[in-house]
Symmetry: C2
Subunit: 280 residues, 2 copies
């Protein structure tokens, strides 16, 4: 049995489509299709139903995929062990962080890290979707809440508050009862800052919903309404003015997350230290 065939099949089982599996493995989708077919041929067992626009696992396929899943886990554990056994400081480190934190707090200061450790190459992915440290999609991650996955070590390294921001002209000309607002779309309804905004807005209108915080800031600058922005974003923008209201402002913690296997790696420690400085 060819383990590469297994690898491709398990990727297909996990990702659901040929194309997604192919992206995950950095190969062509045709390759995944062929390897899965090869695995079926060598096992003399039908693992997938080829339907017009999708591959669907057969019962046998599901069973095999379930049994084989630990193989992928182990493979990732090996990758972590390899990373961990690199003694010197250097190599490529992947950091996952919410887009706003990545853009505003991390990216501008990366030049300092580069000067300190020229051997380190940083890959910074600013994504909403929390990258899996277990699957080694990232080596370090910034999260806004304490993660619960097993094997991860989290440390609270910061806290930031939100405030309402609008264009100075908007705030001067608009009475509070006529305020309009900019918010996340409904996929973020559970986020504290969104709940806070909803309560505050009450019956007043939400005129724009967007997933992207940068878009919210841009919209607020044009005077369309008020947006809830992290203070580190709003205060630095001369085209935005804070509108203070009473009560306790909403805030979020920042957690630095690393896999247990990588905790003591010199390179990881160096980068982790740098990130803490960024947030200090």
């Amino acid at each position: 049995m060819d383990w590469t065939d297994l690898q491709h099949f398990l990727a297909l089982a996990r990702e659901g489509t040929l194309s997604a599996a192919a992206r995950n493995l950095n190969v062509d989708h045709v390759t995944v299709a062929r390897r899965v077919a090869a695995l079926e041929a060598s096992l003399l067992l039908k693992l997938v139903d080829r339907r017009p626009r999708s591959y669907e696992l057969t019962e046998d396929g599901k069973r095999i995929a379930k049994i084989g899943a630990p193989m992928a886990e182990t493979a990732f554990a090996i990758e972590r062990a390899v990373q961990a056994s690199k003694s010197g400081i250097g190599g490529e480190i992947t950091i996952s962080a919410p887009p706003s934190l990545a853009n505003v707090l991390i990216a501008p200061k990366l030049i300092r890290l580069r000067r300190l450790h020229p051997g380190i190459r940083i890959k910074l992915i600013g994504e909403k979707r929390t990258a899996s440290l277990n699957r080694r999609e990232a080596d370090l991650a910034l999260r806004l809440s304490r993660p619960t996955e097993p094997g991860l070590i989290a440390r609270k390294i910061g806290y930031f508050e939100f405030a309402l921001y609008g264009s100075p002209n908007y705030l001067k000309t608009t009475p509070p009862h006529a305020f309009t607002f900019v918010a996340y779309d409904s996929s973020m309804d559970e986020a504290p800052q969104q709940r806070w905004l909803m309560r505050f807005a009450a019956s007043r209108e939400i005129v724009l919903r967007t997933n992207d915080l940068e878009n919210q800031a841009a919209a607020a600058r044009t005077g369309i309404g008020l947006a809830v922005l992290p203070k580190f974003l709003g205060e630095a923008d001369p085209l935005l003015q804070r509108h203070d209201i009473g009560g306790r402002p909403v805030g979020r913690e920042v957690w630095l997350v690393v896999h247990r296997d990588l905790r003591r790696t010199p390179t990881i420690r160096a980068v982790a230290g740098f990130i803490e400085d960024c947030l200090a």
Copy 2:
């Protein structure tokens, strides 16, 4: 990371040499060397020290091999699951048994199994070395003692006794105090029949030691001395005559062993039933 590279490296780690790993994987030894080199290149980590006549794992290599070992276990579990999910009776079944049992009790009757289930192809390996059911070197095994490996199901399906055999002429012309004997070599000193023989021979001479029971029988036929043979072997041979002595004869149990994962497979059950009949 290419899983096939990992597979080759883990085989090398387990088997110790390139050549052994190559045999295990059914590929050329050059391929194993190349894949291990490729793995090192992709991990940027030296896994083996290439010494003149041997590959030796580095510390990193040992660590990686240890972490990766469960992958091989899982791969074998998948193979068992595949075998188990074949519903019809058919396919290739590998039986491992001590050579004498295989040759005398199983092989001659295989034609009956073939008539009963034409779809089954039997691979019968008669080896001293106990094949690993966990690593799926065999699907069914006959052992002379109860195995202790986890995951295996064993059932006692038979019992046979040993006796002393020599050529009729030798027994007629030789007084007991002048008996000479044929025995296993010292690697079998712990086997019950060997211990029994040693006690019985006492100070009388062992004139031939050989690992192969068939050789012992052949030697005894020529009149060189007496050999301890299973009765199912000795009684069927017209050129051998049993020499009965007092006391309780030594015997061994026969255990039929199957992996838990394969227990309920129709094909396995059919073959297991056939083997029980052979021993009945």
